[in-house]
Amino acid sequence: MKRRTRTLLLVGAVVVSLLAAFNQLAGMSLRFFGTSTVAARALAHYLAGDYGGAARLYRDDLARSSARTPAESPSSWLVLARGDLAQAEIRAGVESRMAPADIEPLLTLAEVALARGESAAAVELAGRALSLRRDDDDALLLTVVAQARQGAFSAAIDTLKRQLRSERAERRRTVFLAVLEVTGDLDDRPLDARPNGLLAHLHRYLRVYDPSHAEAAIRYAQRAIDVGDRADDGYVTLAALDARHGRPTRGFARLQQALMVNPRNTAALLDAARYRAKRLEVAEEYRLTRAAYDADPDDSFVAASLHRLLVQKLGDYRQALTHAEAAVARHPRDAEAWLRRGQVQAHLGEHPAALQSYQQAAALAPRTAELEERTGQVLWQLGRDVEAFAAYQRAVALDPLRPGPHHGLGALHARARRWNDAIREAEMGYTLGGREIAQIVGLCGLYVETARKGEATTCLAEALGRDPDNAPALAMQERVRGLPRSASASR
């Protein structure tokens, strides 16, 4: 081979390698790239596939950077991040006594237990956190790590599946490192001793931060299927990755394989329902979601999925109420079940009963903007404007970017004939994305009432563009034709 050809081939190989390296690095989260030498070593270990070693080095790096973080009274987590387990435990105990409903100290205690190798205690503490905040991502992931350390791989898969369906990631860096470490430790086992099913799920989780984990997830899932280690969940993992890679139909075929193995796999049923929903096959979506509910009616996530489908798509309020009543009867302390019950009762026009359900939900769990907004809507229907006003204001305080409460406040101001306030709030709701047809028509009504012809015309054009037969909008359009040109319109 000529020297020139050899050089060309060498340059080509270097370019291809650089491109491949850049492709992997470009997809990785910035959390892998620290500025210290320890972080650089951690990255090297990570890229070499030594996830356990990388996690331990990243933890050292975190301890050093946390030690530099000035804090008069550092939180228990910060102390934990600094590596002082004893102090973190003491501080978490104090925090827990001061705020018993706060899950953060419980999570710190669980992490401390995990670091000391007390997996059973970690599972118990994370369980207490989950009883305070169901489906908290950090608590679920800590449980997964502890269960994996205990060798309870099947339970760990169940817990990780619960976390994966939320499509969220953890808040605590330390929890991420615990997941990375346990993945590395399990990866390092001899091939026949590896829990393939769990590793497939762990790599699927880590894919959020580094897409290259998808390959490992596929490899382990395929192996899990081959050896019969929760094969149905293996197919679900493959399906999720297919969907991520733009092959949803192939993913759906995998889900069908999963359901052939286990027809009661709720993850497969719900993912298949989601696929059908995207294709607007509502009957199939309903059949699959209903099958998931029948398989596990006590799973709040599944119950909420069926509830959303029944209320938002099908409008089958009677069936939704039956399920909500059953959920409340089975779990009288489940705030979400009470919220769902109230929502259906409000749809059915049973406003006093809906209010009671919402009050029950508020008594059982911290108030949310959604709950306050729904309470405001029911109070508005009942003509209890002062209380409705307070509920909407609480909703705005909890989530200022939520459009519904602003529209609610607008309606209340309008009822009191405070037109400027009403328009301000309704416009705020519209700007924040509250553009349901009823909300738009409500805003148009305010423009008509205040004889703002220009704004009213534009607003009605939008409303009638979306619903040409909207009777209130048509009636308003007639009124607008009789209005003189407003100052704002003539500008």
Partner: protein, 353 residues
């Protein structure tokens, strides 16, 4: 300097050609004409031409920096052929655009089935710009029609799906597809078999029938809805208004006849009264309209409808009185003003009833 100017000129020409090719593809997607081969061929041609144009542009850049220039070289001929292909495709796009844009015809809706979706999901997970659907032909039984699928339709169309294809006649007489949607009727019936209390599904079905101009079916489905959900007055009134606007009096009567005795509702009496009067059942219609008028004395519409009902019954004096009141409540109704001019002399001549 001369060389630089040449490079700039070539670049501008090629970018313009690429823009035109993209536009022609857009026009073919939006104002698509069903065709077994031509659409896809043209779309493929557009892609090939764009690719070639880019390649030739790169080549031209190389030539621009020193390679010998031969005007009639094969590259230059190929370049011109590509440009011509793009321009041809562009003219075809222009034709389709005018065919669809100026088309005032109503859409004809054909229930059919997608047999195959082409290039929908590649093994590599790459999304290709052209996806087409092979649909059972509604005009040539046993054959297929190939239709380009718009990006927003991709996720909700699939092989084996029952769909409704909305075909319009076209300004130049070339039929084109304005919409492909899932067959809501089939889907809704499937859902209702599983969940008969699905109120929203029933509503969607009624509105689907109205949109497709299947008014008797809309009225029947709306009546079924009203029987199942008697507390929801708004939906029945909404559909009755839609049917009234489309002059479907018989369907309004079918929808509201059973509802009116159950519910003392001014809108129901008004719409039913008007529909009955339009059907020639004037005494019944007038009775309902009078009740609506009594319930909503400030609403011009019952008077307006009463005016037409009385006029149809040759009761000119009452017709004039009703129209006058309608005009007082809602000034500027041109048809009422015209009708009053016609009826006043007749009322003056006619004996009082």
């Amino acid at each position: 300097m001369k060389r630089l100017g040449r490079i700039v000129r070539v670049t501008v020409v090629d970018l313009t050609l690429a823009g035109l090719a993209a536009w022609s593809v857009w026009a073919q997607l939006v104002y698509r004409a069903p065709s077994r081969y031509v659409t896809v061929l043209l779309a493929g041609l557009g892609v090939a031409s764009t690719g070639l144009a880019v390649a030739f542009w790169l080549h031209a850049m190389v030539r621009g920096v020193g390679t010998r220039d031969k005007l009639l070289s094969p590259i230059a001929i190929g370049y011109r052929l590509c440009a011509l292909a793009i321009l041809g495709s562009c003219f075809y796009g222009l034709f389709l655009l005018s065919n669809g844009r100026f088309d005032m015809s109503d859409a004809a809706h054909h229930p059919t089935r997608i047999e195959r979706i082409g290039l929908d999901e590649t093994e590599l997970g790459i999304r290709v710009p052209f996806v087409w659907a092979d649909v059972r032909s509604w005009r040539r039984p046993g054959q297929l029609e190939r239709i380009l699928v718009r990006p927003e339709e991709r996720e909700r169309l699939w092989s084996g799906q029952a769909v409704v294809v909305s075909v319009r006649a076209g300004f130049h007489g070339v039929p084109w597809i304005s919409r492909i949607e899932g067959d809501v009727e089939k889907q809704s019936r499937e859902i209702l078999a599983l969940a008969p209390d699905a109120a929203q599904t029933r509503k969607d079905l009624v509105e689907f029938y109205v949109r497709l101009g299947r008014f008797p079916e809309a009225a029947i489905a709306a009546r079924e809805y009203a029987e199942r959900f008697p507390d929801d007055r708004e939906f029945s009134v909404r559909i009755a208004r839609m049917l009234t606007a489309r002059q479907r009096s018989a369907d309004v009567v079918m929808l509201l006849t059973d509802i009116a005795p159950r519910r003392e509702d001014a809108d129901v009496h008004m719409l039913l009264g008007h529909a009955l009067a339009m059907q020639g059942r004037r005494p019944e219609g007038v009775a309902h309209l009078e009740r609506a008028r009594a319930m909503q004395p400030k609403n011009w519409w019952p008077y307006y409808a009463l005016g037409w009902a009385y006029a149809g019954d040759s009761d000119y004096a009452r017709a004039v009185a009703a129209f006058q009141r309608a005009l007082e409540l809602r000034p500027g109704l041109p048809d009422v003003e015209r009708e009053l001019q016609r009826l006043r002399p007749l009322a003056a001549r006619a004996p009082t009833r």
